[in-house]
Structure formats: structure tokens, C-alpha cells
């Protein structure tokens, strides 16, 4: 498969943030989360699907998201939703990210 130069590999640790953000409005299953991330980032962010699931399981173990079995397209699917703690975590991480990008932007402009 040809590598698309315009697509960015995910920075380590940002996957958690993206998953939490994707779940902010409504519960969804894993495939929908990966689709959502790619869609919103207009295919710029390439989610490694293989590492999506361990990440979601990790978040579940931390108590930031909850998982529940539901039905989608006539099949059993595992739906994830944001918990209260997860919502708080999302705010913290978003804020951190904000600060980081501002700082890096500043460095790039000034240096």
C-alpha cells in the first residue's frame, strides 16, 4: 500500500484523547470511532486500527469509558460511552493539548 505523505501518523498518547473526544456526543462502537476520527480529521489522521482496541480496553480499565453490548446493523456490537471521570479527563487532556500546540506554534514562529 502506498504511503500517503499528507497523512500524519498519530503522536503517542494522542489516541486516548481522540477516542475520548469522539465519544463526547454519543456512545458508539469501535469501528464507528475509527471512522469518526478519520472523517473529522478529513483523513489526515490515520488511526492504526490494530492499536485502537487495546487503547479502548485500557481506557475502560481506567474507568474513563464504559462498554456495553448493543445492536448495530442487526449484529451484536460493543458500544463505548464516556463516564463522568472520562469527561473530566477529556477536558484535562484537551487543555494540555491546546497548551502544547500553542507552545510549539510559538517556538516554530519565533525560532
Amino acid at each position: 500500500m502506498a504511503t500517503d505523505q499528507s497523512r500524519l501518523d498519530l503522536l503517542q498518547g494522542t489516541l486516548d484523547l481522540l477516542i475520548l473526544r469522539a465519544l463526547r456526543s454519543e456512545p458508539m462502537h469501535g469501528w464507528a470511532i475509527s471512522e469518526r476520527i478519520e472523517l473529522i480529521s478529513q483523513d489526515v489522521l490515520q488511526v492504526n486500527q490494530g492499536s485502537l482496541y487495546p487503547a479502548m480496553h485500557r481506557l475502560e480499565h481506567r474507568g474513563w469509558i464504559d462498554a456495553e453490548w448493543g445492536v448495530s446493523n442487526g449484529r451484536r456490537a460493543r458500544f463505548y460511552s464516556l463516564t463522568k471521570a472520562g469527561r473530566k479527563q477529556l477536558e484535562i487532556e484537551a487543555e494540555n493539548w491546546e497548551r502544547l500546540t500553542v507552545a510549539i506554534g510559538r517556538v516554530l514562529r519565533m525560532a
Binding site: G30, G50, S51, E60, H61, R62, G63, R75, R78, A85
Partner: protein, 885 residues
């Protein structure tokens, strides 16, 4: 959030299958969705769409594995894998496995048995509700709490600490249900006894305080469940029936619940009877006598909120009331509280000490077994160095390898523990029904319970980790590169390794055990043949309790004289007499205070000494084989009309008069002021136990100190069986309704010798086990070192080493360890046997026979253990070896 994590982990553990299914479903759903998207977008066929989806996803296995890691399920899986692998490894070397399992089974089994005894006899309280909060009374200055009945009533009524204070005493009585009269064991109890102990009847009713209305007012008995079962075959109609107790009518009012064995472990009374009827049970009217102590123990629960300290203070204030009010009858009066344990704490203390010592020794056995297995495991780990090197080279972590080794160790220990526990359960169950003294209704409640199982489990796991830890350092040091390159790396240095130290420790432990068992054995054989102050051989005892058959007052001595005279007619009988308590029989003596002739104030503090007292018929000393050192024997003329006389032993004479020479013809007094003249001095003997200190003893003539419970002593050099048959025939003629018991004096002494015998047997067993473990340990070490050094030894032989040198090279180390360990063990054993002196008469390790015996035993043990390895070392053929290499 650790909680959520924990919940998920537990769920994954419990519903393992389901969790796996879920994970598979979740990932498959993703792939299917992706494939469907591909299908709709790119007009691919279905299989291509699925392929693309899989490519985009990456490694499914890896993703699943990473998901599994989140829930930590891998730990369990690794364990299962380790167990499977371990089983395979153990099956591959059956001899190693069986030796290891057998070693542990023996060691853990021995520990479980000793612990079972400890648990059943000491740790497990009386079988009554809330036994933990029961407290029994004891005098502050002695290990007993025997009270007079008025004392008991005062304490019961005046104390403010007990939620009811019950009392009991144990006596024998003749029970006649209309068929043959039998001797039975009665527990005399206070009216509140069952209420205080919170016991409910199995049938009918129990006693209550309202039953007691003065002397002999409550002719009721409650049967113990066991007696009801064996004597009355569970017949429910016995309640309400009238039976004869010592020829007095008593009504059976109820049956005690099963499992309730009274409060005097390990004695299991046949029935319960109110204390107020004491006169009918023993023929002695003691309820008003403050000076006569006979109520064996009083006990009860403390009131809520009262601490034992407060209770003791409360009791002591009653004590000072006693001292003020009854200065002549009651001595220095302080109290302490104890747990009502085995035999009201009399037996409890030495028993606890002995069992604790036994527990320690069997702990040592387990430690020795662990040392042994540790060595085996270390040797095995060395043999498996190549396998481990390979696994390390292939990327296994050392932790993972250690886990594998520990799993194997714990598996062996658990299997061994299970086998050992099984054996010990059988033994304990057998012990529970065993009664060494048919004379006494004893039950040893040592059946295994949860505590024993738990103990065995903990012991097994602990020892598994202990010996599993021995090869840890070895594994951590393993250098895969070196091993794969050069085959095996076996270092033989002059350095002392941990393994050597382990072996030396083990040999030392074994030597300790061998030493103590030999000391015990020597002590026992000495005590069987020692001088008791009487001659048990050739003496037959006939026990009767005359008031059981209705003899009262003057009829008692008359009948006793008739029995003695009748026994004298048996051919071959050289002497016959009678005594009220047989020395060295059941461990009890009756003691009283005596005073100097000048004393007029008979308060206990003024007593010259506390002395044991016997009542004997004429010719007793000749019949018993006790030498009269001076003076005369009693005659039938020493009766109520003659002057009061006594024969005393050497210790009595020394304590009261200064010496035997001073004592003859002198007077002393007893509590009431009665004067007694010393008319003879008897040789010193043993009376209560073989290990006792010299005891002051006085003998009174039977007619001046009547007794209804007596033993007729018959001395004869004829065959015991024939004499016994004659004695039985004579008794049938004299009074067929009188229950009798016949035993030789030697048999009676079984009770006094019992502790020493038990100690000797148990130490012998432990010593044997220790020796066995040492042999296998040394054997293993020597055999291993010979097999590893085959090549070196072969070369030595090829270049002309003599047999002696080869042996020295091969086994020198084993022998050095043996010598060192034995020496250390001998010293430790000598120190340890001081404890033994309390149980076994004249147990002293400073005995040339013991020392020589231990050295010889250890030497023999070393020879046995190294014999086969030595043969192997000598049979090495350098030529064969060279060809093999």
C-alpha cells in the same frame, strides 16, 4: 480507577470463556464493518474486501493479546501452562518425584499429627458455648483451684465479677440399674452448672439452682450422652427411671447433649449428680467443713465489661475476708484466673510444654525435609542448566523461568502435603478413639478439624516456597552463552556453598533428634528399673469402694479385715495388706498440713510442712516392699482406743524434726490439734510421679484413719493369673454385689509411666524420621557429586590414584559435613534435652551411653548414606569413560 480495573479483571477471570468470545466478536464486528465499507465503495468481491479490511487492521492476534494484557488474564494462563509443563517434567523423572513427595508427605504428616494433638488438647477449648470467655479459679500460689464447699458458696455469692460461678468435682460411684452393679464416673456439679455453661438437655431436663435444698436434697442424675448410648442403648424411656447410686435411690432426670464431655478434659464422665448429694456419693459429709478442700474446680463467664484483672481484685478481696474470718481453715488467700484447659490445668502445663517441644522438633523435621528437597532441586536445576540456557537465549525472562521452578516446587509440596494430611487424619482419628487407660473414661478429642487442614496447607505452601527458593541464585547467575558453548558448567570450588550449609544444618537437626530420643529412651529404661521405695513386681492390687455396696461405719474395717484374712489363705501368697491410695498409680496424692508439737495456733502459715497422707493396714510395709528404717509396724491394736500413732518417711522426719534420728518417739500435730506419736521411719519413695522432688509422707493405721476406697495389696511369687483367679473367687464368696478391680501394681504404674513412654515413642519416631531424611540427603549429595565428577575421578584413577585417594576426593566433603553437623547437633541436643527432664525421669544427656550412642548412630548413618556412592566412585573405569567422551 483501580476499582473498575479490579472488577474487570475478576470478571475476566471468572467468565474466561465469555470474555474471550466477546473480544473475538468485537474485533470480528470491526473487520466485517470495514469489509462492508470496502465492498460498497470499491466494487471489490467479498473476499478481497475482507482481505483489505484485515490488512488495514494489522495483526489481529497482537491486538487481542494487547487487549488481554489489559485485564491481566495472562497470569492465570501462564500458571496453567506452568502447571502442565511441571506435571510433564515430574512425570519424566518419577524417582525424583516420588522421593520428593514421600519426603514431604512424611514431614508434613508428622507436623499435622503433632499440630492435631496441640489443637485438640490445648488450643481447642471445652466443648461448650462461648468457651473462650470461660475463666476458672486457681489459688494464687498453686496450680490448682480446689476449694472447700463453704469456700465455694462464699465465692459464688460474694463475687461481683462472674455471671454465675459453677463448680464440679469428679468421683467414682457404684451405679446399679437393676442388673449388674458397675463402677461409673460421676461428675458432681453445682446446681447452676449447666446454666452457667449454657448447656441444653438432649432429653428430659438438667439441674437448676432450684433443685438444691440442703444436704442430699437432690437425688437426681443426668446421664452423659455417651453413657446413655453405650449403657442404655439410646433408650428414651430412661428419663424418670430410678436407679441405685451407692445403694441410694436416684432419679434419672435427663440426658446431656452429645459432645458435652463435662469440664475436666480428657475425662468423660458417665453421669452428672448434684454436689449437694456428695455424702451419698462418697460416704463423707463435707458440705459444712471449711477446712476440707475437695471441690475440684469452679468456673464461669465474667460479666460483660469486667476484665480478668478486675475479677482477680474482686476475688482477692473475698480472700482477705476469708483470712480474717477463718484464720485456721484458710491459708494465704489470693486467686488467679486460668483457662479451664486439659485436666483443669494440672496436666495442662507439662502437656503444653511437651507438645510445644514436640511441635518444635517436628518443625525441625519439616525444615530438614525442605533442606533435603532444596538440595534436590538445586541439583536438578544444575542438570537442567542447558534447558534453561536455551530458554533464556530464546528470550524467556529469568522471572518467567523462576516462576516455572516455583510452580514445580509448590506442586510437589501440595501433593506431598495432601498425602501427609491423609495419613495424619487417619492417625488422629485412630488416636481419638484410643484409650490408654481402660480404668478411666478418657476421650482424647484430637480428631482433625479445619485448623489442622489449614495448618497442613500453610505448611505445604511455605515449604514449597522454601525449598523452591534454593536454586534461585543459581538460575539468576545462569549465563546462557557459556552453557550453550561448553555443555555444562559445574564449578567445584573449595568454597562452602549454600547447599553444603543446608546439608550440615540438616545433619545437625537429625543429630538433635537422635540425641533427644536416646536421652528419652535411657531415661525411660532407668525409670522402669529405678527404686520407687516399694517393689511393684509380684504385687497385685484389688480395688474396692465399700460404700458403693452399702457398707457404712464399723462394717467397713470389719469387711476390710475379712478380705485381708481371706487373701492370706491363697497358697503362694506371702503377705497381704491394704492401703487407701496406691503410690504412683493415678497421679493423685492427698496432702494435709502438720504442725510442731508446740504449736497452738493452727493457721496455715504456722504449718511445719505440707505432707501426703496414707492410711494402711498392718504389714503394709512388708507387703509393699518398703523398708522400715526404724521403729515398728502398725498392728490391729492401733485402733480408735489406742494412742494416735504414725509412721513417717525420711523427708517428713527431716522437715519436721530435723533428722530421722530425732523423729523416733516424737510428737507432731494435725490441724485440729490431735497429737500423733512417730513410731516408725519408712524409707523414702516416689508417690505421685517419677520426676517429683522428695516428698514428706506420713502413714496412719487404718483403724485410726478409716477409708472406704482402698486397695488390697497381695504379694505372691506365684503366677499372677492363678492368684488373680483365686482372688476373684474369694471376693465372690465374700460379697458378690461388690464391684472390684484387679490389676498388678506394675499395670497401675502405667499411668505414671505414660508421659515418659509417650515422650520416648514420639521422640523415637521423630528421630527415626530425622535419620531417614539425613540419609537420603547425604546420599543425594554424595551420589550427585560422584556422578558429576566421574570424569575427574576417572582421570585421577588413570594416572594412578589409590582407592583411598579417590574416595577422599569423592566423599571427603560429605564426611566433613557429616562430622561437623553431628557435632553441632549433639551440642544442641544436649541443650535441648533439659526440657525433657520435666517429663522423663532422670533424662540427662551427660551419659556416656547416650554420647556413644549418638556418635555411633551418626557414623552408621553416614556409612549407610555414602555406601552406594562410594561403590560407584570405585567402580569407575577410566577406559570406559575415555571412550564415552
Amino acid at each position: 480507577m483501580a476499582w473498575k480495573d479490579f472488577v474487570l479483571r475478576v470478571r475476566a477471570l471468572v467468565f474466561r470463556q465469555q470474555t474471550e468470545e466477546d473480544l473475538k466478536d468485537e474485533l470480528q464486528f470491526h473487520l466485517d464493518m470495514e469489509a462492508r465499507k470496502n465492498l460498497s465503495r470499491k466494487e471489490q468481491d467479498a473476499s478481497e474486501a475482507a482481505r483489505q479490511a484485515r490488512i488495514k487492521f494489522g495483526s489481529i492476534d497482537r491486538a487481542s493479546e494487547e487487549c488481554r494484557d489489559q485485564r491481566g488474564i495472562s497470569t492465570i494462563e501462564i500458571l496453567i501452562k506452568d502447571v502442565r509443563f511441571g506435571l510433564r517434567m515430574l512425570r519424566k523423572s518419577p524417582s525424583f518425584t516420588s522421593v520428593a513427595v514421600a519426603t514431604l508427605a512424611l514431614a508434613i504428616g508428622a507436623n499435622a499429627v503433632v499440630f492435631g494433638l496441640l489443637n485438640g488438647l490445648i488450643l481447642r477449648p471445652l466443648n461448650v458455648p462461648a468457651a473462650d470467655s470461660l475463666h476458672a479459679l486457681e489459688w494464687g500460689n498453686e496450680a490448682s483451684g480446689i476449694l472447700s464447699y463453704p469456700d465455694y458458696l462464699d465465692i459464688r455469692d460474694r463475687n461481683r465479677s462472674f455471671d454465675g460461678l459453677a463448680a464440679y468435682n469428679v468421683e467414682q460411684a457404684g451405679l446399679d440399674t437393676g442388673e449388674n452393679p458397675m463402677r461409673a464416673w460421676a461428675s458432681e456439679v453445682s446446681g447452676n452448672y449447666f446454666d452457667v455453661l449454657r448447656i441444653q438437655p438432649h432429653l428430659g431436663r438438667l439441674f437448676h439452682p432450684s433443685d438444691e435444698n440442703g444436704k442430699n436434697s437432690a437425688p437426681y442424675i443426668v446421664l452423659s450422652h455417651t453413657y446413655w448410648h453405650t449403657r442404655f442403648q439410646d433408650d428414651p424411656t430412661v428419663v424418670g427411671r430410678t436407679v441405685q447410686v451407692n445403694k441410694h435411690p436416684f432419679t434419672i432426670v435427663g440426658v446431656a447433649p452429645p459432645g458435652f464431655r463435662g469440664t475436666l478434659l480428657p475425662l468423660n464422665p458417665d453421669f452428672f449428680v448434684p454436689l449437694v448429694n456428695h455424702e451419698q456419693i462418697t460416704g463423707e459429709d463435707l458440705l459444712d467443713k471449711r477446712g476440707r478442700r475437695w471441690v475440684f474446680q469452679s468456673l464461669g463467664h465474667l460479666k460483660p465489661g469486667v476484665t480478668p484483672g478486675q475479677a482477680v481484685a474482686d476475688l482477692n478481696s473475698i480472700g482477705s475476708y476469708f483470712e480474717k474470718t477463718y484464720p485456721n481453715e484458710v491459708g494465704p488467700t489470693t486467686f488467679k484466673l486460668v483457662n479451664p484447659a486439659l485436666y483443669g490445668n494440672f496436666l495442662g502445663r507439662p502437656m503444653t510444654a511437651f507438645l510445644a517441644a514436640l511441635m518444635m522438633l517436628s518443625g525441625l523435621i519439616l525444615l530438614a525435609a525442605c533442606a533435603n528437597l532444596g538440595n534436590l532441586f538445586a541439583a536438578r536445576a544444575a542438570d537442567r542448566a542447558r534447558e534453561m540456557a536455551l530458554r533464556l537465549a530464546l528470550g524467556a525472562t529469568r522471572i518467567r523461568i523462576l516462576r516455572q521452578l516455583f510452580t514445580e516446587a509448590v506442586m510437589i509440596s501440595v501433593i506431598g502435603g495432601a498425602v501427609g494430611l491423609w495419613g495424619s487424619t487417619m492417625l488422629l482419628s485412630a488416636l481419638s478413639t484410643w484409650n490408654p487407660f481402660p480404668r478411666f473414661p478418657l476421650t482424647v478429642p484430637v480428631g482433625p478439624d479445619t485448623n489442622v487442614y489449614l495448618f497442613a496447607l500453610v505448611a505445604a505452601l511455605a515449604s514449597g516456597f522454601l525449598f523452591g527458593a534454593v536454586p534461585v541464585r543459581q538460575v539468576l547467575r545462569t549465563d546462557p552463552y557459556e552453557i550453550v558453548k561448553s555443555g555444562s558448567v559445574v564449578r567445584f570450588g573449595r568454597r562452602i556453598t549454600a547447599r553444603d550449609a543446608l546439608l550440615a544444618v540438616q545433619v545437625a537437626i537429625c543429630a538433635v533428634l537422635v540425641t533427644s530420643s536416646m536421652v528419652a529412651f535411657r531415661g525411660l529404661s532407668r525409670s522402669v528399673n529405678s527404686d520407687f521405695g516399694f517393689e511393684p513386681r509380684g504385687a497385685i492390687l484389688l480395688d474396692t469402694v465399700l460404700d458403693m455396696a452399702g457398707y457404712r461405719g464399723d462394717a467397713v474395717p470389719l469387711m476390710q479385715k475379712r478380705m485381708i484374712d481371706a487373701m492370706k489363705t491363697i497358697p503362694g501368697v506371702s503377705a497381704v495388706s491394704l492401703v487407701d491410695r496406691v503410690a504412683l498409680s493415678n497421679g493423685s496424692v492427698f496432702t494435709t498440713r502438720v504442725f510442731d508439737d508446740e504449736t497452738t495456733d493452727y493457721r496455715p502459715a504456722n504449718a511445719a510442712t505440707q505432707t501426703a497422707m496414707y492410711s494402711v493396714a498392718p504389714d503394709y510395709f512388708q507387703t509393699a516392699g518398703t523398708t522400715l528404717l526404724a521403729g515398728r509396724d502398725f498392728t490391729w491394736h492401733d485402733d480408735q482406743d489406742a494412742g494416735r500413732v504414725a509412721i513417717v518417711n525420711g523427708e517428713f522426719a527431716r522437715k519436721v524434726f530435723g533428722s530421722s534420728a530425732n523423729a523416733m518417739g516424737q510428737y507432731f500435730k494435725r490441724g485440729g490439734g490431735t497429737r500423733f506419736q512417730v513410731v516408725g521411719i519408712a524409707e523414702q519413695g516416689k508417690y505421685q510421679s517419677l520426676t517429683e522432688d522428695p516428698r514428706a509422707v506420713m502413714f496412719f493405721p487404718l483403724l485410726q484413719a478409716p477409708a472406704t476406697e482402698t486397695s488390697i495389696v497381695v504379694r505372691s511369687n506365684r503366677d499372677t493369673q492363678q492368684v488373680v483367679a483365686e482372688m476373684q473367687r474369694i471376693m465372690r464368696v465374700l460379697d458378690s454385689g461388690l464391684p472390684i478391680g484387679i490389676e498388678t501394681w506394675g499395670q497401675k504404674m502405667g499411668f505414671a509411666l505414660f508421659p515418659a513412654r509417650v515422650a520416648t515413642v514420639s521422640l523415637g519416631v521423630l528421630g527415626g524420621m530425622g535419620a531417614l531424611l539425613s540419609i537420603t540427603g547425604i546420599f543425594g549429595m554424595a551420589a550427585y557429586s560422584v556422578s558429576k565428577r566421574k570424569r575427574e575421578l576417572g582421570i585421577r584413577m588413570a594416572i594412578g590414584a589409590a582407592k583411598k585417594e579417590v574416595l577422599q576426593a569423592a566423599l571427603g566433603r560429605a564426611f566433613k559435613l557429616l562430622a561437623f553437623g553431628s557435632a553441632a547437633g549433639l551440642v544442641l541436643g544436649i541443650l535441648a534435652t533439659r526440657v525433657l527432664a520435666f517429663i522423663v525421669y532422670q533424662a540427662t544427656p551427660r551419659d556416656p551411653v547416650v554420647l556413644a550412642g549418638v556418635v555411633l548412630a551418626m557414623l552408621l548413618l553416614g556409612l549407610l548414606a555414602t555406601w552406594i556412592p562410594a561403590r560407584r566412585a570405585l567402580s569407575i573405569d577410566p577406559l570406559v569413560l575415555l571412550r564415552e567422551e
